[in-house]
Symmetry: C2
Subunit: 165 residues, 2 copies
Amino acid sequence: MIDTALFRDGMSRLAGAVNLITTDGAAGRHGFTASAVCSVTDTPATLLVCMNRAVSARAAFEQNGTLCVNVLCGVHEPLSNLFASRAASMEERFAAAQWRTGDTGAPILADGAVAFDCTIDLIQEVGTHSVLFCRIVGVHLFEDAVDTLVWGSRRYHRLPVQTRP
Amino acid sequence: MIDTALFRDGMSRLAGAVNLITTDGAAGRHGFTASAVCSVTDTPATLLVCMNRAVSARAAFEQNGTLCVNVLCGVHEPLSNLFASRAASMEERFAAAQWRTGDTGAPILADGAVAFDCTIDLIQEVGTHSVLFCRIVGVHLFEDAVDTLVWGSRRYHRLPVQTRP
């Protein structure tokens, strides 16, 4: 058995993009902060999101059957903290930013670095977490993004975005 | 259908740690560079690795049943390129660094930021890729690591490692 503190020390070195995972539909509007997001394949365009099953919104994501992965920019650090705070209601969270609605109905952060609008294809349960395999139906690039927000070694970093020539 | 170029432009903004995924056993020693690695749960300690099914080593990983995720430091940029190069043989790759052997038999990079020694529990096939769910049996922290290597916006970055007080 791996000690939880050692697992977390180790994982703190596996840096990753900071994202807001959002959904809307019959089960209502929900969103949370996650860095456990991974590209899977471009054929068909698929990503995955890991989600704690204890999160109250878990059932809403499954029921809505859709989600959007909003990759954050440097300026979104307070928004990341807000969507990670158990004390903040969904109303408070969504009131703190501008949103559009994707083809799936999921909320798209207006000025995120990029948004992946998805339908949830398959859910794999692993211990305390659910892994959501998501088919990407829309990719929304924010052309004015200058950086992206990354979490590593227990703090935020900003990585410059390179625009194509 | 999502255009492949648009998918890749979008995913270029989802920054992530750069890792060497290694294995050894009856099917021989193999290794490749991957950034599609994700923490899943600490109960039981589990991570996942996405791997192209067309990679020649795919069968070897499944047959050995074990792998090590070696999170790279800034100085390992050439090693990352080498393990990503189709032209480099496994002998050439492994000759370029110092290794130890984990409890599973997988090669552990001696000076990687952290290594997760794992057994492969479950493989989920998704389109062109396999998602390997791996039980972590050992976490090896390299105390002298000063930074980790991250890939984002189609280039390398170095993030400082924060040591615990």
